[in-house]
Amino acid sequence: MSDLLAPTDEDAIAAAIRRAGTAREPLAVGGNGTKSAMLRPVQAARSLSTGNLTGITLYSPKELIISARAGTPLSEIEATLNEQGQHVIAEPPDPGGPQTIGGVVATNLSGPRRVAWGAMRDHLLGLRAVNGHGQVIHSGGRVLKNVTGLDLCKLLAGSHGTLAVITEVTLKVLPAPEAVGTLVLPGLDAADGVSSLSAALGSPYSVSAAAWLPADATDRIPMLSAFHGPVALVRIEEFAPSVAYRMRKLRDELGGRGEILDDAASRSVWHAIRDREPLVPMTDEAVWRVSVRPSAGAQVLRSVGDACGARGYLDWGGGLVSLAGPATAAAHEAVQMAARDAGGSWMLMQGSETLRVAVDVIPPEPEPLARITQRVKAAFDPHGILNPGRLYASL
């Protein structure tokens, strides 16, 4: 087991990075480690955690902003927002551990609401971070609009700790909806399901989530098991009278059939989808996340299933394909090929260490872009000490 450094303030994080830089010793950067099974494993003698950098530093409900140190548990932020009737817009999945807000931002993982309201990176207004020189840098701020200088918030969100160590973030938040409703369209296969989701997302009713689940997944979710088959699901989040009105209109426009789930059932179903509960991988299986144009989602699901027996479900109107299957190079190749054929992107979310070191865990970049990537990495982390190899073997 590697040495764990878990400082309680930003200065100590910066000092640790400077020491590592001087010694040319790589650091495995993380929060509470809830996402360490993703992507490539980092080979480092020491780990640097922001898990002890905790606390909400600013919350101004009237200005729709919250700031917190990177190690603050997401659950604490959600609870604080909940007291004021607000929420984290991107609805990040719960990986089943005490994930930190820094980790959520650094991985840019978003839930079902992403399709309508944007990803974590879309609501990241500002951050503080320590680069590989050990310098504290800030980008953005605490205001809702800001185009001053290059947008390092977007660049660091989803960079998995490979460019800088995020120490504090400021997020835009919104009022949580008064009510939630879900239209369930049973019996549609993936392709027909996606057509319905597309019609719903292309309707004037501000659909806030749209997913399709196969029969085995439906059986596993208590509120849906009565449907005994695949379902397409469409969510509205609004004031209560609007939810009722829009559910009715959507049902009419999608063929006049389907059942409407009430508020409590809706919240429970979308929590399950957010947290990838429709997918129950066996312990030795791999999990992938494929992002494609929504109309290609059903095809990706079918071709990966045909090639290696992987199972999955669709979120984001068909555009997010979550898959579980054998942790083999052949299965991984099938996923890559399906994503590539659809012009999309993939990410290995979980898998054996053997697989994770052997394959491209995200799409390789074309050579001219890979060159820029190397230079941008060096622009932040000249000694290559921050999470080396996490995204690409050579970075």
Partner: protein, 494 residues
């Protein structure tokens, strides 16, 4: 040596990097090379025909470029970029030239790469709710192309009739409706870019959240510093069933500001929430006769969306909130026509100010919304000190403030004061916890104020990223970063 054409007119009041003498001297050779790689009408070099390109929406600054090229394809852009990279020629990308921060201001030794001929809509994909267009398609052109099917492109900058999507991406443009729909960055899926070295790259696509570094997010708002954007894939949204506006007038800026807080705290996010102060109300009413209340100190335009019953319900709630803030008057639009009339004055604000003042500077700071009354009071005091009039228009929901400073460009002293006044306002925005620019970009206008917002190592971090994309600092090098450091960087690489 003959005097290069690019140097003939020297009206620029802004400092520029030292032009490269060897480039100016080789102007004819360079122009001939462009003529060899582009259609004849796509290369402009005659001084009289360079004039339209010497400035942009920040017309106080002028500088004709070395030449202008107007490519029609990404391949032509790539050929130009490869040549410029090989020859060390600076490049200034340009869309419609509507930048209010001087983002498209040329340099004497730079070639302007104008994207306006790349104005085709390439693909509309309703099933996946996206459209792929060339960079020179206007903002409104996208909505025009999809509104027959009930869709629209959400970001709506005031210049949307003229401004082009490539420029919108480079500036991360906003608009009056971004409180609900977000800014350009939140509405993009993919880009085709040409790098400083002339490579063509596809970034993103039609899918969300591609794995790897978020180049899409970094390029958005990069002000032409990192690459030339030639194609854009945007998300298109289905229009709501309807929208309606209301107007509420108040006795003070403080009261109107408190009303904004109350609306947001109630859980309602209006699709637009605009604030105008007394000078702005008067200027716009005189110009547009929109029925604005002339007895008010401050006025809000609030717009909601949905079915007509939903609109009624939301407007009733908002009305009740306004009632608690002692309004002078309220007017709820009863129809789409009345909503248009309410918006007419706001959308005509620039024209209205133009009518009462020969020239004006439109500032673009952002402040925490809670500081609004204080900021407006201090802006008023500064105006008194400088002896200049100022009207304030404000995207109240998101804190984006647009003070319009009136001056006379024929009076150099008046212009100098207006610039200084503007800089003071932006410093105040930063002091209040805000930032220098919410949607217009840094450009040349605010580049020397960047140290107010960023520490030296933060600016250096941003410059290193630029260097990673543009090792020779050929792309728009007179913008965004304080000039002294940029000149030093440019000089070092040659």
């Amino acid at each position: 040596m003959p005097r290069p054409a690019g140097e003939i007119i020297l009206t620029n009041m802004i400092n520029q990097p030292e032009p490269k003498a060897e480039i100016l001297a080789r102007r004819d050779t360079i122009v001939a090379a462009f003529r060899g790689m582009l259609p004849p009408e796509a290369v402009i070099a005659e001084p009289i025909r360079l004039r339209p390109y010497e400035t942009d929406g920040l017309s106080a600054y002028r500088q004709p470029p070395l030449a202008v090229v107007l490519p029609e394809t990404t391949e032509q852009v790539a050929a130009v970029m490869r040549y410029c990279h090989a020859e060390g020629i600076r490049v200034v990308p340009r869309g419609a030239g509507t930048s209010l921060s001087g983002g498209a201001l040329p340099m004497a030794d730079a070639v302007v790469v104008g994207l306006m001929k790349m104005n085709r809509i390439l693909d509309i994909d309703y099933a996946d709710r996206c459209a792929t267009v060339q960079a020179g398609v206007t903002n409104i052109g996208i909505t025009d192309a999809v509104q027959g099917r009930g869709f629209f492109y959400a970001p709506d900058p005031s210049s949307q009739l003229a401004c082009m999507i490539g420029g919108n991406v480079n500036m991360n443009s906003g608009g009056a409706h971004c409180l609900k729909y977000g800014v350009t960055a939140n509405n993009l899926l993919g880009l085709k870019i040409v790098t400083a070295e002339g490579d063509v790259l596809n970034i993103g696509g039609r899918h969300l959240d591609a794995a790897g570094y978020d180049w899409l997010g970094l390029l958005t708002g990069s002000e032409g510093q990192l690459a030339v954007i030639t194609e854009v894939t945007v998300r298109i949204l289905r229009s709501p069933e309807g929208a309606r506006a209301m107007l509420a007038a108040f006795r003070s800026n403080e009261i109107a500001g408190a009303c904004v807080d109350s609306i947001i705290s109630s859980g309602i996010i209006p699709v637009a929430l605009e604030f105008m102060d007394r000078p702005a109300i008067h200027a716009c009413e005189d110009f547009a006769h929109a029925g604005y209340p002339l007895d008010a100190e401050a006025m809000l335009i609030i717009e909601v969306e949905g079915s007509s019953e939903e609109q009624d319900a939301l407007l009733a709630r908002i009305r009740a909130i306004c009632e608690q803030h002692d309004p002078i008057s309220m007017k709820v639009s009863q129809s789409a026509e009345e909503s248009l009339a309410i918006w007419k004055g706001r959308k005509g604000a620039f024209g209205a100010i133009g009518r009462i003042s020969p020239d004006y500077l439109c500032m673009d700071g952002v402040i925490p919304t809670s500081r609004l009354p204080e900021v407006l009071r201090r802006i008023g005091e500064m105006g008194d000190v400088y002896g200049l009039k100022v009207a304030n228009i404000f995207h109240a929901g998101d804190g984006n403030l647009h003070p319009l400073i009136m001056f006379d460009a024929n009076d150099p002293e008046s212009f100098r004061k207006a610039e200084q006044f503007g800089a003071d306002i932006l410093k105040l925005c930063v002091e209040m916890g805000g930032c220098l620019t919410g949607e217009h970009g840094v450009g040349v206008e605010k580049r020397d104020l960047m140290p107010v917002q960023f520490k030296a190592e933060e600016l250096e971090q941003q410059r290193r990223i630029k260097t990673a994309f543009d090792p020779d600092w050929l792309l728009n090098p007179n913008k965004v970063f304080p000039l002294a450091a940029s000149s030093e960087r440019s000089a070092r690489t040659h």
